[in-house]
Subunit: 426 residues, 2 copies
């Protein structure tokens, strides 16, 4: 953890380092992934089964999970967890339904009809990691926007290391409306979704988090299918005045730190005393936190506490950092929120811990990381819709605007463009 | 050109080949591009100037084009071309203004405030190719959506081979509201926009077409900045009955063929006689077309004419091909249009040649190619906006929904997530 004060002489330099710090380990797995993709493209199911046997120590007869097996396993999900998933799904769905956009269509003053229709993607794949990182909440966050957009075929892949299946993930899949499940993972799952195999029809877009192999496989199949953004380590930036309970803020900072040793937690406050109280609370919580190994590594290596003389100073710093999550733990959070240009999602006031948004606030928890909030947004219904524009001239309308198109086509040296218009003019 | 009939025994196999045909030349320039990017990242302006001297044979003292030089050059744009550009800009702007989305914000039944605000990107770069492919229409199509979204800084790069500048491009830049212009191109321009140099501040997103080096440079800087999609060779699919003038349809097919030897023109018709008339008309036009070298290569190697027994059969074929441009040259185009799920943009009726949309119909001409219309859309105002979501619980609302979040956090094995919520509950 490093402590910075805006009044320090070297603040600018240290803050610049903090902004440009790339926390992601870059292991080059592109060669291995390229081989797996090529193999699945050629050998289909046989290749997928080979890799599943080799990497997951699992040899299913069929890659497809039957409805009865899904139902049997999902029934093992504890009742309180199932109820919580249902509440989460209902709240996430309600928020995403409000995103459904309106088509555009009108006839302009010269008689040209034009417009834009939103059309759902036909089929998408959702990658769900296996093991500990197999988060049912992520499944809801990825599948529900697709469902609400109107995607008819929602295919999920989830590896089953040693044949083990997480009942909570299957319960979430049922609640979210997943239509097919395959018990595969890794680059081979991405290949199967992108190219198709004998038993898995290809999809048009693949979303969902995964390890380095999955991320690289998504990069390589991009173009053949659409993909969501590649998620980096989690980030939280908390802006807090001294009126907060230091314990609450410490828990918030650790809630992201426990995700990944490369996660980053930053506190900006206008009180040095409060900053020291939060730091002490973090150290205290870390002594007993079951995830302390991960959380302490993140805290030690990547956390920062920045002391400003006025919280208004946090805004330009925040817009440069463009963090995934921002908490504004102040009395009038909207005053600061209105000035934020670069962030994934905002958590306003003293009673909105970021984790509430991870599960069931309503907005999506798949958010831009690594400063990509400068140009990117969280996952949404829009990511599962396409826009098809249209144009319709009648004879008179074409006469009115056609000559100008001919002029521009000629200026660009494209005579067949010009000809296709002029042949229709008198 | 190949002729297919749906009644042919081998139709399915041949159509499948047509769908999977990848027309793009894949020269691997990634190594060269990686070097250029790294060099510009380290040496800044000096590196950009070196590459500009080497590749463009141009040695400007300043990379920045002065307002007076822009004004002087733009004044050389012919009056009729300038008037056509202004009509185009006005029509494109009118259509894109209708895309500006509404923010979402509400308080739900348990008292949680939540919403989504659309925020313009702060700064974008627009790459404009030099030489013959330097299309002023593309500049309008890339810059106007950014301007309308509210992007404050719109930076254009355009190489000046031998110091030559296209007055029409500069006139278009003025009309579109470009705020800075630099006389550079190639991978070095993409590097300068992504990383910044002494004289060029970095941007957050880069859009616009370019050659293989530019496309690869955009791929490599993706993540540091956002990029638009990588455009492949142009495509047109014309669905036409026998009531059309074969000459008109021939011109339409050639309007895309003249772009690139790898471009693809496809006609689907229900009349073999009409098909033969169109083919004959294409051959006739090609004898005198100034761009015949390119257009004939595209026509010979990539065009297809598909004869169906009923035009309704064109829809499933079309949705599989997912073409960039679709013309529906029939009396009631809306009947077919309503069934189209995968296409970039539609041109409806007998009087809407695709080229009218290239210049001034209103919808964007930057469209998905290579079947990416299955999952991607044309350029729009949305591409220059971000969504920032927010969530605000008061104490009572958190009491209502908090316990379920704790349950899910515990089920996912994330105790600090659970703690950040439970510490705020009674």
């Amino acid at each position: 953890m490093q402590l910075l004060q805006t009044t320090d002489k070297d603040f600018s330099a240290r803050f610049k380092t903090l902004v440009s710090d790339r926390r992601e380990a870059t292991v080059d797995v592109s060669g291995t992934v390229r081989e797996i993709l090529a193999d699945v493209k050629v050998r289909g199911d046989a290749a997928v089964k080979d890799y599943t046997s080799r990497f997951d120590h699992y040899n299913p007869e069929s890659l497809h999970l039957s409805a009865s097996l899904i139902a049997e396993k999902a029934a093992q999900c504890p009742a309180d967890v199932k109820a919580a998933l249902e509440l989460a799904a209902q709240r996430i769905a309600a928020f995403h339904q409000k995103q459904l956009p309106q088509d555009i269509g009108y006839t302009d003053t010269v008689g040209v009809k034009l417009g834009l229709n939103w059309v759902a993607l036909s089929q998408v794949g959702i990658y769900v990691p296996g093991g500990r990182a197999s988060y049912p909440s992520s499944l809801l966050m990825n599948a529900l926007p697709a469902k609400i957009a109107g995607v008819e075929r929602i295919v999920m892949t989830v590896p089953m290391p040693g044949g083990e299946l997480n009942p909570v993930v299957l319960a979430a899949a049922q609640i979210a409306g997943v239509t097919e499940i395959y018990s595969i993972g890794g680059a081979q799952a991405i290949a199967a979704l992108a190219y198709g195999t004998e038993s898995i029809a290809p999809v048009d877009k693949i979303v969902g988090p995964g390890n380095a192999y999955v991320a690289e496989a998504k990069r390589q199949v991009f173009g053949t299918v659409g993909i969501d953004s590649i998620a980096g380590p989690s980030e939280i930036l908390v802006v807090a005045d001294s009126q907060n309970n230091p314990d609450w803020i410490a828990w918030d900072l650790l809630s992201q730190a426990e995700h990944d040793p490369s996660a980053q937690s930053i506190l900006i406050t206008d009180s040095e005393t409060f900053a020291q109280q939060v730091i002490a609370a973090v150290e205290q919580i870390l002594t007993t936190l079951p995830t302390k190994q991960v959380a302490a590594a993140s805290w030690q290596n990547h956390a920062a506490v920045i002391i400003v003389s006025d919280l208004a100073q946090s805004i330009p710093l925040l817009n440069q950092l463009a963090p995934e999550h921002v908490e504004l733990c102040v009395d009038n959070p909207q005053l600061l929120a209105n000035q934020i240009k670069c962030a994934g999602s905002l958590f306003l006031g003293r009673h909105t811990p970021e984790a509430i948004g991870d599960y069931l606030g309503g907005p999506n928890h798949v958010l831009p990381t690594a400063r990509s909030a400068r140009f990117a947004s969280g996952l949404s219904v829009y990511d599962f819709l396409k826009r098809i524009t249209y144009l319709e001239c009648n004879q008179q309308a074409l006469q009115t605007i056609g000559e100008a198109a001919v002029t521009l086509a000629q200026a660009e040296g494209l005579p067949a463009h010009a000809g296709s218009v002029s042949v229709r003019l008198q």
